[in-house]
Symmetry: C2
Subunit: 710 residues, 2 copies
């Protein structure tokens, strides 16, 4: 099964999922317990900067820079067609029969989960001959925003003058109430309160949800992953990173309220583009002490430990073809995450970049000085980060990595939490969050013991290394066992890989959990008290103070920059405008588009630069002049993967799947001269469905012909 | 065979060896091409700070702080007994029959090299029943300083007003001449010019050398490595990190000019201690731009790549007992290096630590301002480091890691260099350096294909990752092959693992190398031009300017702090004084000693905290009250491993084998309140030879009885 690397950031993968920060591997994001609670708004310094909420579209700015703006009807229609995937990606309806465009890498977990020995869908892709062969993706859910309500006053009222842990508790309780009362129909709707502008604004997002999402089309893995990790976050690029899902309800394809028109034309340099999707998290408004913590402590620890994990996987996958296949998606995700962190580290080690952030902070402090009521939230953040430096290692390591452990932890917690009233529960276990939790735990997904073993023994051995052999938490984790021995005992002894066992524990609740002798359950129970204690401490000393400070920092930003600003990303729906444009790299102007033919020039025959089999087999048929990938100035971040790229007409000309290397610093700040979104064109996907992976039914559904004049 | 991680630092392991910066794994040091050329002198801020040369012993300082100083006879005798091991460690003669005390981890490579399937000397130790069973350590050489001559005027005269690459060339040529003329007897002597005070002083060290060094005694690997990586650089500690070698000449044990008296008594808290040995390299006088390069660029790259390598080894070693055994020493060294880098990164990410270094720099600049002739060497260093930022990745990766590649490179270079006059040769290939080179290449050492494969495919894939897939150097390295495929082709295709093949190539010189179709030789030949070009560029743009600036910075230091200062470490003989003392760790005063009995309390049964077999078997016999390890304030660094720890009487009370965690920042600065040397006591080694690994002959040779009253 798929284990999630987000785990490194203080909250477990399950908790992250509930907090809607559960990104795909391309979008591993740091925020989690810390960052998101201090997200606030940016003052856009560059044209095309900004991840705007639909209720605050910057029409004047765009009109000024692009000479054109979409009208409300345009905005409403595209919003209604936009899809959020709970796996951590973005997507869009592109037909009236529930067809959803996203990236291949957004369905990679699904493909891996559906694979079995002899059937490697990740490598071969998945292209059912008929609609009836489309197969459900475990754990996947599609969500469409149907309403956005401002609940700022309501939440702020609940907070009153509370602080620290009491503030967090009151906030979470009120959020749980609003979410529960807003969405009584739990089968079809989901409600989620989103904290914007660092607590300057709270919005209740209502989603129509579709829990039966099936894989409808995916190319070969090499077609998506041509160039592999070396080409990732780079451009020029030659990646067919597109796929299609289909939403079902009651066994039938969904008829969505809106869908986007497919447009297989070539993009034009300079033309205006929109990206509509769910950027996961940004940290553009962190104070200098938050950036310092990141640069001095968390990134070094994260990069060292993830790099080692990468090495373990690389070697393990060389042991057999089966392991290579079973581990591929894990490794892809891991390498992607690592590249993100290395890019962030590089940005934070760049004195010019940091000076720019410091200049903005100085501007903000000057603005805040005009309003004595704001006080000194920076000092509060400093204190919170000092507290966090004492907590973060324990918070990371007392929550070991691994899918099996994640299930055990969630089952143990759910059993306890479900006995409490909604307002008393941990955030991931409120009645509004519970259905997705349940789905995540109960959906059948394959478990690969060797993968679990690697994660758990790595996680436990890194705990001992970073906490120290004599640390109380190390002793709690290991007792007198070794990381390897303990991991082996738990992974081989547990039955949680069996969905029926998980269901029995879920249904049986507290009594079943307490009666269980499953070693993984026993291990999770052993850690539970300390895990909760760390949450309590983090809320009291870190998150609570950050929320209080965040609201004041938001006031400072409003006072300094006015309302025409955008909030940090929160894996909620945003719109970015930009244009098709290359950039200048070390003195060379880069062309913003590549063509399919370039793939053949770049291929070396050796992985990851080997041609996909169907490319090689169909070379004569392929129109090599078709635009393959292209770059735009749109401001996106992980979570935006799979977002439709629209033109002025509102038609889909591609799917965003990556950023360039400069976009990695985009977590902290956008630089319009360098940051770029990387897109796979609708034209290339169309050509693929015509000449490489013939898919006449899908082409017809998208409204394009199966052949074109050459 | 053993592959060397120093390889990461711009010069190959072979070159490093010649430059006498070839440390053991505990001593992986960064300096290499850059740092060492700018080593200069420190102004000791703390009592007990300093790694002093024997010709500048700070008698007044010591008298002031300790109320006692050794006389010249004491100094002369201990200097004459001090041994440098070319493997990168320190040691000392402790008997009149050539017995040499050092650390077990300093003979680990030897033990690994002598092992074969079924005979794992690293795990079991090596304790020959009779002297005739002592076995030669491949590549090992013992060296004793017999003379130190000041050649500053001579070298400075040769440099004249040269700069850049011309300066480096002139310096290396004059050094080669001095070394060749100083030591005409290449069989028994070795000459080496040491650059001190960043070029403020040059000294010619003459060594009596012993090329036949045999392993005489080593405990079980677990006895040395109890606590493994978790306990490494930590204290309290329970490690039997001692071993004995014996120097031979003409098949007979050497009778050294001097030896130290063995003293198996317990150390006393507060008593004065001396450490005499060869600290490898420090960077205490780097300017802020050198520290910035380290913090922002080199350490992040090094830590990420080494962590991944660590993961590859950990996983590979889990595949079989044989691999675990064959890889253990590689992994130990790798983990040790990584911990060093992480410690350095932590120090350079500590704002207080960096502020202290900056304050010293400011003081120095103020001092320099009093002498206009000094000018602004800091600006020159800034420019050199800017140039280095453009060169360092290529310099790292165009020299792939691996023992087989290292041999190939050395053979290719030696063939070309040996046709030139001495003054034209690369530093590692002058007539004074050639004998050790030859020994290193020709001594038979086992090659483990899987280890070589890991190193080479890792090194090549990291080249592509860090240089980029489209980089010219990446293309030079890989052509159209994958890192994995190329590494496999080279490692399986080469015959360089056979010492006879290496000898034929060595003896055959340029003609043999050019005629060779060995794929590793062909690969090294392909890279040679670029490799030399990078050396040329580094000399012209980095090293040359750093040497020029270094001399001026030394002038600045003399002007500011006077002559009572010590030079940065250069793997040449130094003396440090200090005392037995614990320190305060997070409010707790640590006892400076542990006892053997503590091992039994700490043992968990699970590696690396499992009891060594002989400890368990002999528990009843062992005197648990014997002092095991202890800490002192002596200022040491990697390369000092194995150094004798002397008391005022000049007797050996232990062998230094590690520093505490705070000592890792000691690369950049010493803090007497925290930095500690970790020592294995002569008392514990004696008890081990009495009760755990009975060795009556050795005990007799050391002048102690085989039993004692209990």
């Amino acid at each position: 099964m798929r284990t999630v690397l987000q785990d490194h950031f203080a909250v477990s993968w399950i908790a992250l999922l509930w907090q809607a920060k559960f990104m795909t591997h391309r979008t591993i994001l740091i925020a989690a317990a810390l960052g998101a609670s201090l997200s606030a708004l940016s003052a856009p310094a560059f044209a095309d900067e900004g991840m705007w909420t639909f209720d605050n579209f910057p029409a004047d700015r765009m009109k000024r820079d692009h000479g054109w703006v979409p009208d409300q009807k345009w905005l409403d229609r595209s919003r209604a067609a936009a899809v959020r995937l709970t796996g951590g990606c973005s997507a869009s309806f592109v037909s009236g029969e529930g067809l959803i465009l996203t990236n291949q890498h957004c369905v990679a977990t699904c493909l891996a989960n559906l694979s079995s020995e002899g059937k490697d869908y990740l490598a071969q892709g998945f292209r059912p001959a008929t609609r009836s062969e489309e197969r459900p993706c475990p754990g996947q859910q599609a969500e469409v925003v149907t309403m956005i309500s401002d609940v700022t006053g309501d939440i702020k009222n609940a907070l009153g003058s509370l602080s620290g842990g009491a503030l967090i508790k009151a906030r979470d309780a009120r959020i749980a109430e609003l979410e529960a009362s807003g969405c009584p129909d739990k089968d079809k709707t989901r409600c989620q309160v989103v904290t914007l502008y660092g607590g300057g604004k709270y919005s209740l997002y209502t989603y129509r949800k579709y829990s039966d999402v099936r894989i409808a089309w995916a190319p070969e893995g090499r077609a998506q992953g041509f160039g592999g990790d070396p080409d990732n976050f780079n451009f020029p690029r030659y990646a067919l990173d597109g796929s299609f899902l289909r939403a079902y309800e009651n066994g039938k394809p969904v008829k969505p309220a809106a869908f986007l028109k497919w447009n297989p034309r070539a993009p034009v340099a300079g033309e205006t583009t929109f990206v509509i999707g769910n950027p996961g998290s940004t940290s553009r408004l962190w104070t200098s002490s938050q950036l310092a913590f990141e640069r001095e402590a968390r990134l070094p620890m994260t990069i060292a430990t993830l790099s080692e994990l990468r090495g373990r996987f690389i070697r393990a996958m060389s042991e057999s073809a089966l392991k290579r296949s079973e581990g591929q998606e894990e490794l892809d995700g891991l390498e992607n995450s690592l590249k993100v962190y290395l890019g962030r580290q590089k940005a934070l080690n760049d004195p010019d970049f940091v000076a720019r952030l410091a200049a903005t902070e100085a501007q903000l402090k000057a603005g805040a000085a005009t309003n004595p009521a704001i006080g000194d939230p920076w000092a509060s953040v400093d204190s919170a980060m000092a507290a966090n430096r004492k907590l973060y290692l324990a918070s990371r390591f007392v929550r070991p990595t691994g899918g099996l452990y994640g299930w055990a932890r969630a089952l143990v917690r759910a059993a306890a939490e479900r006995t409490k009233p909604d307002g008393e529960r941990l955030p991931g276990y409120t009645s509004s969050a519970l259905p997705l939790t349940e789905k995540t735990i109960l959906d059948p997904t394959p478990v690969h013991g060797w993968v679990e073993q690697i994660y758990l023994e790595w996680s436990l051995s890194k705990a001992r290394e970073w906490l120290g052999a004599d640390d109380a938490d190390t002793r709690l984790l290991l007792g007198r066992e070794s990381p390897e021995g303990l991991a082996g005992r738990l992974v081989t002894g547990t039955s949680l890989g069996d969905p029926a066992v998980r269901k029995a524990l879920w249904d049986g609740g507290q009594a079943a959990v307490e009666a269980s002798s499953d070693p993984m359950i026993l291990f999770a129970r052993k850690l539970d008290a300390r895990d909760r204690e760390l949450t309590r401490l983090a809320n009291a000393e870190v998150n609570g103070p950050l929320v209080s400070a965040g609201a004041k920092l938001a006031d400072a930003r409003f006072a300094t920059f006015g309302a025409g600003t955008y909030p940090d990303a929160t894996f909620s729906l945003r719109i970015s405008y930009g244009k098709v444009a290359g950039w200048t790299e070390r003195g060379v102007d880069l062309n913003p588009v590549t063509t399919i033919g370039g793939t053949f020039d770049r291929a070396t025959g050796a992985a990851p630069f080997d041609l996909p089999a169907a490319f090689a087999a169909n070379e004569a048929k392929i129109d090599k002049s078709v635009v393959y990938n292209f770059v735009t100035t749109n401001d996106i971040i992980g979570g935006n993967s799979g977002s439709p790229v629209l033109d002025k007409a509102g038609t889909v000309i591609g799917a965003a799947f990556d950023g360039n290397i400069h976009s990695l610093g985009g977590n902290y700040g956008y630089d319009g001269t360098l940051n770029r979104t990387v897109v796979v064109s609708a034209a290339a996907l169309t050509e693929a469905m015509r000449s490489i992976y013939p898919s006449p039914a899908l082409l017809a559904e998208l409204g394009v012909k199966s052949s074109k004049k050459r």
